[in-house]
């Protein structure tokens, strides 16, 4: 490799990446005879043994339904379920654990706000402002609300460097705006969006903010009170936790003012045919038997991340990302999409004359797992005039050597095409 720039970038010395890799069983396998290089973390991250153990211990020992029985196992399951909620509360610095609603992931989080907060409140002429870089899960639920209420969805554009156009945002967010919905980090480009600035604009306009934190949680320590957003949602599986787990954080006064969006058991205080009294927060939004093992696994995930420290994770990932960007700059015919100044460890690229799908298949044969396609962000792809990209997304366990493996595989693509 010829890049002086690339070799000058060193990871922080105190980050024991090999020790972390040892915690993740799935990383230690071969794919097509090559050591797996897992660079599809933005789609879903692998799980540490501690999370796998927490889930299996729960099922082996403590499982029963929650909030229902007087017997010992039900008490243990309830303690584990509510204990995990408290762990998440502390992790994101929510004021109260009743502000942390268990959901199946960011998708359900946005849908819950759309249906339980926005739908009853919005009317014709109101506006919802999102961004063009949103994941479809932060677009479609708002389009549905618009159809239901007559409100209008508008989109903050993205500049050529992949950053939001804040000047346009300031013009879009105004007197008609009721909701401003945006991702903390773009899953397609890795751009870290200025949450505080957007939140301030929304507040000044009297609008409520909904932040999709699905891509932020694996990379940063999120403090919902410091961000001062009204709602914040994320998926457990992208932060090394179980699929099907997730959290919707909402300010207590807002959540309190909302009616439940699903009815059933667990969410009531009393039911009669004359009328039903809903349970208090957070249970009023958790109808039915919840994904108890997922909650337990999410709690274990937060413990695991706490033991490592997100500052260390961020420093390590940023070194790996810088190295990858330098290698990319040295690769003729390869274009990285977007050059945001603040970027999480996500790298979307295209190669001249090769479709991303073909890149993905050849890389897979070299053991390198990347995502190819539109990344559920079609409006953003259209903005950049492309149908698809190949995306390498790094996690805390990825190494410089794996970046080298990625670019060696990219070289194979070049040879073939």
């Amino acid at each position: 490799m010829k890049a002086a720039t690339a070799t000058a970038i060193k990871p922080p010395a105190d980050f024991a990446v090999e020790k972390i890799r040892a915690d993740f069983p799935a990383l230690h396998q071969k794919v097509h005879g090559r050591p797996l290089v897992y660079l599809d973390n933005a789609a879903s991250a692998q799980k540490p043994q501690a999370v796998i153990d927490a889930i299996s211990d729960y099922y082996r020992r403590d499982h029963a339904n929650v909030h229902r029985g007087v017997h010992t196992l039900s008490q243990r399951a309830t303690d584990a379920y509510e204990g995990a909620r408290e762990k998440v509360r502390a992790w994101i610095n929510a004021a109260s654990s009743c502000e942390c609603i268990y959901v199946s992931g960011a998708t359900e989080g946005v849908n819950l706000v759309a249906q339980a907060y926005a739908r009853p409140r919005l009317k014709s002429g109101d506006e919802i402002v999102a961004t063009i870089s949103e994941h479809h899960s932060n677009i479609v639920p708002w389009q549905m609300v618009c159809e239901q209420t007559g409100a209008v969805l508008r989109a903050i554009p993205v500049q050529d460097n992949g950053e939001l156009d804040l000047r346009a945002a300031a013009e879009l967010i105004g007197g008609r705006t009721r909701i401003v919905a945006f991702g903390h980090i773009s899953n397609a480009l890795g751009t870290v969006n200025p949450v505080a600035e957007l939140t301030a604009m929304a507040r000044a306009a009297g609008a409520v903010t909904v932040v999709d934190g699905a891509q932020a949680m694996p990379h940063l320590r999120v403090d919902v009170r410091a961000l001062d957003c009204d709602f914040y949602t994320f998926s457990g599986h992208k932060m090394y936790g179980p699929t099907g787990s997730g959290i919707l954080y909402g300010k207590e006064a807002l959540l309190d003012s909302m009616a439940p969006y699903r009815g059933g058991g667990e969410m009531i205080k009393s039911v009669s045919f004359a009328g039903t009294v809903y349970h208090d927060l957070p249970h009023k939004f958790e109808a039915g038997t919840p994904f108890i093992a997922g909650a337990v696994g999410l709690g274990a995930t937060v413990d695991y991340l706490g033991g490592i420290g997100m500052e260390q994770v961020a420093a390590h990932e940023s070194a790996v990302l810088d190295y990858a960007l330098a290698r990319a700059a040295d690769t003729p015919g390869l274009t990285v999409i977007g050059r945001p100044r603040q970027r999480a460890a996500i790298l979307s690229f295209t190669m001249d004359g090769v479709h991303p799908h073909d890149i993905g298949t050849v890389l897979d044969h070299e053991g390198v797992a990347v995502r190819t396609g539109h990344h559920c962000a079609q409006p953003l792809m259209q903005r950049f005039g492309i149908a698809a990209t190949a995306r390498a997304s790094f996690g805390m366990y990825n190494t410089r050597a794996e970046v080298d493996a990625l670019f060696a595989a990219v070289g194979k693509v070049r040879e073939m095409f």
Binding site: V354, H355, P356, H357, D358, T361, V362, H365, T372, G373, H374, Q378, M381, A387, A388, M416, F417
Partner: protein, 150 residues
């Protein structure tokens, strides 16, 4: 690399670099748009069709991976001049080949399609190979102006 070479045979690269029948037809009788929502591949087929349903001329444009472009290139070569019934029969055989294996029952024309047989090892890529055919089927059956592989 063996499976990979089976998927990406030299012929596929040739078609990908210089696709046959690429472009628009001046006065198409039918224009149908095909879309694979999974990967964003887009393809438009232009057909001139005789009164008896035979495909007098056919062309395509759009963007897609090497597999879908090669498949469209080979398909348009094959079905040009064929009757609708012949074309639909080829689709059936082709579909059987890329999903099941074998040569789809063989027969005239199947040797040209056989270069795409490697796709059967890649379930995620089958839709790339069949997108042009799904689009053709819609054009011949006079269905909607847009088809999707999903």
């Amino acid at each position: 690399m063996s499976h990979l070479r089976e998927l990406y045979q030299e012929v596929i690269f040739d078609h990908n670099r210089n696709p046959h029948n690429f472009g628009k037809l001046p006065n198409p009788d039918r224009t149908v748009h095909g879309h694979n929502p999974l990967c964003g591949d887009q393809l438009t087929l232009y057909l001139q069709v005789d009164a008896d349903g035979a495909i007098r001329d056919i062309a395509f444009d759009g963007h897609g991976c090497a597999i879908s472009v090669a498949s469209a290139s080979i398909m348009t070569d094959l079905v040009k001049g064929a009757s609708a019934a012949e074309a639909l029969l080829w689709f059936d055989k082709f579909h059987a080949m890329v999903t099941g294996g074998g040569d789809g029952g063989g027969g005239e024309g199947m040797e040209k399609l056989a270069v795409l047989g490697g796709v059967r090892q890649y379930p995620m890529r089958v839709k790339c190979a069949t997108l042009p055919w799904h689009t053709l089927q819609a054009a011949l059956r006079g269905g909607g102006a847009t088809v999707s592989t999903e």
